[in-house]
Amino acid sequence: MPMHPLYQIKNLKYRYGQYFELDVPELTIEQGASIGFAGSNGSGKSTLLRLLAFIDVPEEGDIRFDGAVVTKNNGGSKRDVTMLLQEPYLLKRSVFENVAFGLKVRGDRKDLKGRVYGAMELVGMSPGAFARRRWHELSGGEAQRIALASRLVLRPKVLILDEPTASVDQQSARLIKEAIIECRSRFGISLIIASHDRVWLNSATDTVKRIHEGRIVGTGVENILLGPWNDEGNGLYAKRLADGQGIFVTRPPHITAAGVVSPSDIVISVLEPDGISTRNILHGIVTHMTMERDSGDILIEVDTGGLSLLSRLTPSAVQSLHLVPGKEVWALFKASAVDWY
């Protein structure tokens, strides 16, 4: 299928919070793409998603959707895009009515029951057990999946998910991933997902872009190191983690700059390294492991005193180090391996 741009963003600006501004000079998202946005809380991910979902309107710049500039009154194309909020809101009615709502407001009642039930099954919710339940009779994960079903039933061109796994259990996170991947392959839905769960995000999307303080600061699976940085002398700058460990970098452009380290530059050791020149030796625990879809390499997520670092290893390296989640390791990278945005 020939690719064509679904979204074309130029000089987009939008203020959020008291101090921050989302600033996206240029961004193109292709039809059928599955793109992830990673970043910390308050980085601007949700703001960008709300703009892409046409819930908010940009203050400056424009968003073209399917070739047409989106304006406040351009209602037709807006219905091709639907968004699942971070904390789902279910209408005060039955589960069935929640899932059917979007179809009803479109006046599309053909085989309503069949389609609603189909969407519920897609997210692993048995219609027999759940369709008649009231909105408040669901757990957090079930509510999130019903909210997802109410979007999937619309067969949108674009499905936008904001932190879909933030408040759900592991099983729901897996079911959500399976449902969106299946919908993408069956119906060609484009996916735009924001999440700070990098491993989940990486396994659910083709590409990941990072957002920091309202700016897209990198593409791919990268580690973002946020300032502020303290001058330690000899050209070294440092930041202390919650557990007292330090991250050392060289020459940040300013003290609050965000540094980026490629996962390929992070080496994992299962023994405490001694007598080596690498400046950053961070003690941590393996929290997640996932296979990268394109390369076949394994991404290891290590929690080091509150900072999670991703390291890219070959399957054979993982095997020889006997890495499993929960294992104590040391993550190493050179102070000079940090790039700046």
Binding site: R50, A53, F54, I55, G75, K78, R79, T82, M83, L84, L85, E87, P88, Y89, L91, K92, F101, G102, V105, R106, S150, R151, L154
Partner: protein, 229 residues
């Protein structure tokens, strides 16, 4: 103390025997309060929705006026409505003084601010995610407004029940506009005031029991609705 106990026993007798005078006051109260609550909901819900949903210049001032009107003294409403509908007043030709519709008009004025204010609060208290959810699901214009009102339905019902409670229990308006005319405009509250004045505690108590029962039903439904909302 004996006369209170005797009055209570006689009041039960009156209720059980279906005393026509007692029941006339009860039905008059129900007729008037039904008329006034219907009118106040028709006027108050749309206005309350507009006040709660939209932002406009002067909104806070309008809100302050409506909230002040919540504490409107019944005798003041009675006074103004009396002035308007008495023979010399601008609406004197309508012949509403000392009639059931006349009391209903005054009660509507009394309780509409309650409906407006509580509906506005209900709409303002809607979850902030609702609007984004409705837009994301493809709802437009009127669909968003109606669904928002539906989402606030239990809280709007609380407004209605609160207003109804005020209507059945007020005495000032019924007395001044209705004139407490036996078989015609005598309501539960005006009858209690009159019978107590006359020293006939039995009728007063019988009506008091009915009023308390109505208040109990109203309050129970309020509690139930608040739980659901």
């Amino acid at each position: 103390m004996d006369y209170i106990a005797q009055g209570f026993i006689r009041s039960i007798d009156l209720l059980l025997a279906g005393d026509p005078e007692t029941y006339s006051a009860i039905f008059t109260t129900l007729r008037i309060s039904s008329l006034s609550i219907i009118a106040s909901l028709i006027i108050g819900i749309p206005l309350g929705f507009l006040l709660g949903y939209f932002e406009f210049p002067g909104k806070r001032q309008v809100r302050a006026v409506v909230d002040t009107l919540l504490a409107l003294p019944t005798v003041v409403v009675g006074l103004f409505v009396y002035a308007f509908i008495s023979r010399r007043g601008p609406c004197g030709e309508l012949g509403l003084l000392f009639t059931i519709p006349g009391i209903a008009v005054a009660q509507t004025i009394l309780i509409t601010p309650i409906v407006i204010s509580l509906t506005a609060t209900a709409i303002e208290s809607l979850d902030r995610r609702l609007q984004a959810t409705l837009v994301a699901l493809g709802a437009r214009g009127r669909q968003i407004l109606l669904t928002s009102l539906m989402e606030a339905r239990y809280a709007v019902l609380v407004a209605a029940v609160t207003a109804y409670g005020r209507a059945i229990s007020e005495v000032g308006v019924s007395m001044m506009i209705g004139g407490n005319i036996k078989w015609h405009t005598r309501t539960i509250t005006t009858a209690i005031a009159l019978e107590t004045g006359k020293g006939d505690f039995a009728v007063g108590m019988a009506l008091g029991i009915v009023l308390l029962t109505l208040a109990l039903v109203v309050n129970s439904s309020l509690t139930l609705l608040k739980k659901r909302s």
